[in-house]
Amino acid sequence: MRRLFWMLFGFSIALLLIGFYEAVFVAPVEATMGSIYRIFYWHVPINISAEIFPYVNMLASIAFLCVRGKRPVLAAKLDALAVATAEVTVLYVGLGLITGMLWGRPVWGIWWTWDARLTSFLMLFLLYVSYLLVRRFSSQQSPVIAAVLSVFAGIDVPIVFMSIRWWRTQHPAPVLTGDGSLDRSMWPALLWNMAAWFFWGCTLIWARYAIAVREEEAAESAAMNALEA
């Protein structure tokens, strides 16, 4: 398993390097925005992954709630997966917000606006920060409370996704679908970066999952030692 992890790590790094090269040196300059638009190649792929990982978190949490009474070993693993995806989601959503602000300032002239996309995405960030805070500071029941919270956080994801379709927003309408919003020459860099950020996120989740499982084992072993003493 360890070898497979390092293979995924190397694969992700290779994809990130190709993605960087494609975005900076190969992708053309955008007609209106110039080169500043290249933030797009980080902002969009990171945000797409930031809308996938919450579903893994939600599914792991629902499964955890279902099996926690009957299969404690499986429940512990699902809980570890939920923690891992929540932390990477916070990282990705946070980066999505920051890169969006750094793009918005020169292009829109403002750092932030309370439109539906930005606000719902900020809500997603805050929900996952609360998830982590509940886990950090709550009592023994914190995995259960956090799992319930993650279901509500998961509901925000389709709202984020649909916000630019349902409401008129400062944020641009979808550029990846529709009538040729994205020039064909811009697609390779985008696809490389989408793959790169997705696999890098999976690498981080795997590493964090392994740590959570190891911590759980260490806590169990410490409890057993305390009982024996």
């Binding site: 933030i39 980066l95 750094l102 793009w103 964090r208 740590i211 190891r214 260490a218």
Partner: protein
């Protein structure tokens, strides 16, 4: 010649933020794993 706003520093700022955050997170994970390994060897 007419001056216009230089926006490129926003692009570089985005690169730096993304790299620092990800490398920082990876190093933090590595530190936690190394601490667990140390504890395991001790106990």
């Amino acid at each position: 010649m007419e001056a216009t706003g230089n926006t490129m520093h926003f692009l570089w700022a985005a690169y730096v933020v993304v790299v620092v955050a990800n490398v920082g997170f990876a190093v933090w994970l590595w530190g936690r794993w190394a601490a667990l390994e140390r504890e395991k060897r001790k106990g």
